[in-house]
Symmetry: D2
Subunit: 336 residues, 4 copies
């Protein structure tokens, strides 16, 4: 039997999520007029300790791009890391949702955008020159595409720069739960309290089925997003089943519990691969130096994962990764 | 307890759909790389008797607009009825997906676009004038927004005109099942055999949870749609749960069985309202002449429905409408 | 020799415009950094009696659509007359510039949008329903596509409604000069003083070569338009030649003088066609009832004009219409 | 008196162009229905030795972006150099015209895209992965933004790769004349004969006023471009004045004569700055290593130019650069 560490985005659906969805199968108003959708704002407000507006959508791509579309005009730009998911893996979805706004790319270790890098970029832009795309927003990923986690003060530094420069701040939180679990801080500390205007709150990778939330800490942005969501075909008519997934995640702290399990699984594997780590393990992703023969050897033993460049592998754990599989993988790597 | 006839789009999820979804909760490849998604084309090919390509999406709006986006360039137009859902109820989604293409509206009884009307419109367009938007596609709804059903020869007449004029033909089949059940014909007879290039195949209104299919009878269109779907955030990572819903509908003929039940329910209500029908009942929608007081009286008895203009009501049944509720409503209307 | 009354948009270039353009052929900064472009705001401010920001563009379509794009988000709509040039003759340009916003059409005599019609439309829109496109702007044409002219109080009524409802007001003034000349009022009285936020100020039809102005009475809109103009390829590098045309028109009152000549020419023709007028002649356009044979007879005498429906003709005069040609045409019509 | 070498885009209008424009001031059909516009295709066909379709537009940005919009779908990409004008200086115009297609950037000496670089990029793209933007076109600039010129075999190598990979090839020829004059080859040799599908043929920088041409060597692309041009507000109503400029340039070989003058002027300056050249001088642009003090010294003597980075200057000549100014600048640089 295969022991898959390909991606958390294909992991199973948590039993509590199933229960919540089935409980939602009673007659109610369509779209987001149902009782469950009505409870979302309050549930997120409790988690983040401040009023917010939460909209469910079916995918992280939709969450990211709808959020950005409220922040940046078609003629504007979004500063982000060159490895950001919105740049590399969404088939140009930001260009679609924003009507052609430009992603303005920066480098940075661990796929992290450093505040210094942002400050430098901003200092080099002539903000009154119509020949050049002007940034209107910054987008960062927490945890990053290389499994790294911004500390609260790092987000706050970026948030401060954004505000000073009249830019909005978006956080792609496909693995926000893993980051918060790793940091062991309040979710607000690395989002709204640090200047984030809208957060793509991941649920699918963390035990959900097909629901993510855009959490807006600015009501004005949310008001626009409602129309954009409908217009993008993401206002599902049986929205109560999406709301149910998110509520199941939030209301019992399940989102952090699942993330802790995934992180622990990653840590188990890391224990056997200390000398091969390309990145610090700060969530549920591992990037290991592994030669072609070594990867083949692991695969022959039944382990599934993606190549990462010519000499590496990406290994991702999920809430349902089995400890015995993780232990076996750690051992197998150590033995190479 | 309320007896709701507001819309089929908020109806329950059929038990067989639940079963199929739960059976899909095993590890598999993400997006549409899973085994269930791989079976979709064949399942639809069997239903339609010819090769086709089926893509799942989360909503009818997404299905309609992705289909249209493959057919019409941004500078083109889509001829449709003034009452078409794409015109009236999708918050401009076609404009978003097609990048600004124009809906070119026509009138017609029962929200039906007559072939004669189409022919007349086409005859009046100067096809070489860059000052005017040129049509590239036609879109019709089966069953229509007023519950009416195109006969095979009516679709074929439109399909023939479309082909002669170099236009593509799209069918919004949010209630395609109800139409086919009413006609008691093969699904191909009112779609691909009659010239339809792409069909939005409804599942949500018919007992699904959050999956619709775009059935392409032209492979070239489907190839484009794959990229557009991803770009629109509609390539969900756990796509196997959407495929499962559609397969459950298709593989056991459940889609027609459910539609027959919904149609029969509508027929039960119609039996008590013959003299009030504004439209022939050809599926699961009824449009009744009911004064303000009459509607109030019915609502006071626990019946839920939408107003339709100042002197009418729209009543929609679903696969799970209870016969006793329908009988009660028929009786209540007759008694008015 | 042909006596052409096809359209003012192909008329000649006024000698004063030629002079101004040639005087502009000295080295200066590119784009709109030159000395002539710098004088535009003041020149328009003087004409309109209040501060404004004027941007030159090459065409009326660009002027209209850039103006609208600053007023309406992609998910919004623009209320306008069914016969508005932006709807009928711009090949979907508003959809391009606004990224898919919807034109929401209304009827009205003389291609005029009545305040009552607008009020009625606004009263019927559910302003909180995300399923329906929400209007964000109103666009009217002065003079209209049927040669009619809004009186100051008519524009003010529309402007008042717009403001009350949070909508912006755009005026397509391709023939604004003809309207002001006809009304013999201040230009402000039918534009900014009556609630117009942005005016497409026509110059090409009135003796210019390839320059129109967007006159913004709201600085915020103009700031956005600068980027949109560049992005649309309308920030020409030798912009001084466009500025020169507009200054030539404005600074000597040439724009009104030319318009008066065109209007007088139309009046001369109308004098011979009183019983055939389909619309009151309020500028430089005439719409006459003329049968097929009658039109053929006129054409045989050397007169050029467009058919207008099956039994009519559109006749348009310009600043350079020759009085003898107009007199001849009037006589020829009277003789029919 | 200032001796300006800031940019050729603000140079004067050639007397022959003025003459042609004035000769065009006779009544004719609007838009591109006039006699001069009708002659454009033949004039370009003669210059390029094969049938082609030429559309006038007002700016290089419009030319580039309209051409690209015919080649790449909204979900596709365009491979180009990181220093390409379309990337750096058009305020996101390609994103507007293509509805969000992505510019896929590559490096290369002299702002040139090498065939090897292109081949390498293409080999690394998974052409069947919907998660990644797929290239549909390549765009190169001739002469480049750093004043360098592709040789015929270099363009042909890129053209060959494009064709093999199903990509279209666009050439931004804002300074195409300068490149052809430098190469002393036929214009076809570095464009259509080498695989270019559409060429932005520069005229404004070379003595025109406000007209550029898009020369399509593929009729199908031109047919689409006609609608897109109208939709973008670039179908000017008095198009005869744009056609006149282009015909004046083409029909007497004026375009090459002007370019030769500009190139010779650059060569004169280069003669005094051999040891400071950052790039070979292959047209009318010079990039010189000049420290801050040195630039200040030159400016104090009345020379105008742009800084290029911290230690350099860009100097651009035009058809009307005066030899005495060039000689003076050469001498001034040599003396530094």
């Amino acid at each position: 039997m295969a022991m898959l560490f390909l991606s958390d985005n294909a992991a199973g659906v948590h039993p509590a999520v199933w229960c919540a969805m089935q409980a939602a199968d009673t007659p109610d108003a369509p779209y987001d007029g149902d009782g469950l959708s009505a409870r979302l704002d309050a549930a997120f407000a409790e988690a983040f300790g401040r009023p917010c507006t939460a909209l469910w959508v079916a995918s992280g791509t939709a969450a990211n791009c709808l959020a950005l579309a409220t922040m940046v005009p078609p003629h504007g730009g979004v500063i982000c890391h060159r490895e950001a998911h919105i740049e590399t893996n969404e088939c140009g979805a930001p260009g679609f949702y924003t009507h052609g706004a430009k992603l303005m790319l920066e480098d940075g270790e661990g796929a992290m955008l450093a505040a210094e890098t942002l400050a430098d970029r901003l200092s080099r832009i002539d903000r009154a020159d119509v020949h050049h795309v002007q940034p209107h927003a910054v987008s960062i990923t927490q945890a990053t595409e290389l499994g790294r986690v911004y500390r609260p003060e790092q987000v706050a530094a970026i948030g401060g720069l954004a505000r000073e420069n009249g830019l909005r701040l978006h956080m792609d939180g496909a693995r926000f739960a893993n980051a918060v679990a790793f940091l062991d801080c309040s979710p607000a500390a690395v989002s709204c309290d640090a200047g984030v205007d809208a957060l793509s709150f991941g649920c699918v990778k963390n035990g959900g089925m097909g629901a993510e939330a855009i959490v807006f800490f600015d009501q004005g942005l949310a008001d626009v997003a409602r129309y954009r969501r409908k217009r993008a075909g993401h206002l599902q008519s049986k929205g109560r089943f999406l709301a149910a997934q998110l509520l199941a995640m939030l209301e019992d702290g399940l989102w952090l519990e699942n993330a802790r399990q995934a992180n622990a699984a990653a840590e188990m594997i890391a224990a056997g691969a200390r000398d091969r780590l390309q990145q610090a393990v700060e969530g549920n992703q591992l990037f290991l130096s592994l030669g072609e023969d070594e990867r083949a050897a692991l695969r022959a033993q039944g382990f599934g994962f993606y190549d990462w460049g010519d000499d590496g592998a990406r290994i991702v754990t999920a809430w349902d990764s089995r400890p015995e599989d993780c232990a076996a993988l750690a051992k197998a790597i150590a033995r190479l």
